[in-house]
């Protein structure tokens, strides 16, 4: 328990000093996205990695958070600090209500249902032109502000986003190690066995689905207030799959894994930009290699790789 806390503090310190090595610039902006994507990956991981319930519609919750925040602060001139929790509340209630019928489904059927949900939300963004601005998007969303400091630069946004991300991480780490975390993993492994031990799996699944949606919505609101512009294209089916890939590549059932997955999948396209037209091919090939050789995700694969290299070196010295 103490070791976990030390690890988290070390990680938080690393995140906090990181900007000093980059001196602002474009990379800072990318790192802001790493933070937002980490939140989303953690949200999905709580659902998929711990409770074992798939969702292919999380971009929808992310988008709802962004749009509700955006519309409330532009059209209705609400303060962003009130719009964000309001958005989270609405999305949470929505997920809770939809969760009851949807989470009775299992496997492929649950995947289809959440996929449908994501697509419906995407269509709503596109078609309710009066409210959302339709395909051309919604602009002029205000930045967040604390005591006269406006979060309008990449460095300020970095600290804002990562402050919240670290809080979400700490919360999720605690949740995962609690009695609830154990119950979630029990539901994942055998729902009947969990039930006969007194875990109300039906309600628990819905609750974690709603929590996951709330975290996604929070990430969406922060996205809207840092980018000051949202359009439906960012919240489509592709993005749901991208978040899912982050979770799987990073490591199912690991909070730090979600960070690694989000960081890799956000940074990789930026680094591959030099390869011009071949970037997509390299990106795809790298993902395939990683899934083949690190089926447990980066969080388990990297230590294994390290051990392997280290051991080989040791043997070489002996010879």
């Amino acid at each position: 328990m103490k070791r976990d806390l030390l690890l988290f503090i070390a990680f938080a310190l690393l995140i906090m000093v990181a900007p000093h090595f980059f001196h602002g610039g474009y990379l800072m902006n990318v790192l802001v996205f790493v933070g937002i994507n980490t939140m989303l990956a953690i949200a999905l991981n709580l659902l998929l990695g711990y409770a074992g319930q798939i969702s292919l519609g999380h971009a929808g919750f992310f988008g709802l958070g962004a749009y509700i925040s955006g519309v409330l602060t532009t059209t209705y001139a609400l303060n962003p600090w009130s719009a964000m929790p309001l958005a989270a509340l609405v999305v949470g209630c929505l997920a809770y209500l939809i969760g009851f019928p949807i989470l009775k489904l299992k496997g492929h059927y649950l995947a289809m249902a959440t996929l449908g949900l994501g697509i419906i939300i995407y269509i709503v963004f596109n078609e309710t032109v009066d409210l959302t601005g339709g395909p051309s998007g919604l602009s002029g969303i205000p930045n967040l502000e604390v005591a006269g400091v406006v979060f309008d630069s990449d460095v300020k946004n970095y600290y804002l986003i990562w402050g919240v991300t670290l809080a979400v991480m700490l919360f999720s780490l605690n949740l995962a190690n609690s009695r609830i975390g154990r119950a979630l993993r029990a539901v994942h492994d055998s729902e009947v066995a969990a039930q006969v031990l007194g875990v109300n799996s039906r309600v628990l699944k819905v609750q974690i689905f709603a929590l996951s949606a709330v975290i996604s919505s929070l990430a969406g609101s922060l996205y809207a207030h840092t980018m000051t512009f949202v359009s439906p294209a960012s919240f489509g089916f592709n993005f749901s799959i991208e978040v899912l890939t982050m979770v799987v590549i990073g490591g199912l059932g690991s909070i730090y894994g979600s960070f690694l997955g989000a960081a890799l999948l956000t940074l990789l396209p930026e680094f591959l930009r030099g390869a011009n037209d071949y970037d997509i091919i390299i990106y795809g090939a790298l993902l395939m290699i990683m899934v083949m050789f690190m089926p447990g995700g980066l969080v388990r694969g990297i230590p294994a790789l390290y051990r392997k290299i280290f051991k080989q070196k040791g043997e070489g010295d002996n010879a």
Binding site: R182, A183, A186, S190, V192, Q195, L197, G198, N200, R202
Partner: protein, 247 residues
């Protein structure tokens, strides 16, 4: 203590239990025997609330619990050890046991008493103590069965439902597990409803038994009488077939 009255349970259109009635007194060990598909597991799942009855009544400690959700049933004091053990393989032995006490953590009775119960489980099954940090999935079948029973005991139940604890285990391990069940009754007065394929061993342990066939109770009585019953012998004990034939 537990009474089932004219229970009817369906899986979709399949009529799995037809007017099943049975009862258990406090501190009794009762066994359900019958062939595959007779409805033994369904009875346990109906009591646990996993597959609720569509007609009839389940009564536990003078309270009707027919339509309660599974977690409420556990709260009332009925724990099930499900068929095929179903331990949580990626979790450690300790985590599995703590999950057994899932509802008790919420009831603020204090972690101390939960830990005391865990120690009790370890005295019943010392093998689990040796392996408390090990992942449940890496243990042998017998050890997993012990863990499944220990996990159910962590809920501090008045009544234990066991679904084929002997399945796929070596005879010596089966003996050990049955001895523990006997000990549970003696030391804690736990009431036990035991579903078994191994009819002979079950009837030797139990006070009374029910014989099921295609969703109906066809025979009931004291265990020693059932052991001697010609029909039971022929159908379920797999012995004396020759005797019957030559008679």
């Amino acid at each position: 203590m537990l009474r089932l009255k004219n229970i009817n349970t369906y899986y979709g259109k399949v009529h799995a239990l037809k007017n099943v009635s049975l009862h258990l007194g406090e501190g009794e060990i009762v066994t359900l025997i019958g062939a595959n598909g007779a409805g033994k597991t369904t009875i346990l799942n109906t009591i646990s609330g996993v597959t609720p009855a569509s007609a009839g009544e389940v009564n536990f400690c003078k309270e009707t619990v027919t339509f309660l959700a599974p977690d409420k049933i556990v709260q009332r004091g009925i724990s099930q050890v499900p068929e095929g053990r179903q331990v949580f393989k990626p979790l450690s032995v300790e985590d599995n046991l703590e999950l057994g006490a899932y509802l008790r953590y919420r009831s603020r009775e204090g972690k101390a008493s939960i830990h005391k119960d865990m120690e009790k489980v370890f005295t019943l099954f010392p093998r689990l103590l040796e392996r408390r940090k090990q992942l449940a999935g890496t243990m042998s079948g017998g050890e997993q069965q012990m863990l499944a029973i220990g996990r159910a005991l962590m809920a501090n139940p008045k009544m234990l439902l066991l679904d084929e604890p002997s399945m796929g285990l070596a005879p010596l391990v089966v003996q050990e597990i049955f001895r523990v069940l006997e000990r549970l009754r003696q030391e804690n007065g736990t009431t036990i409803l035991l579903v078994e394929q191994n009819a002979k061993a079950a009837l030797k342990l139990a006070d009374r038994g029910y014989v099921l066939e295609t969703g109906k109770v066809i025979l009931e009585g004291p265990a020693d009488e059932l052991l001697e019953n010609a029909e039971v012998k022929r159908a379920y004990l797999g012995k004396d077939k020759k005797e019957m034939w030559e008679r």
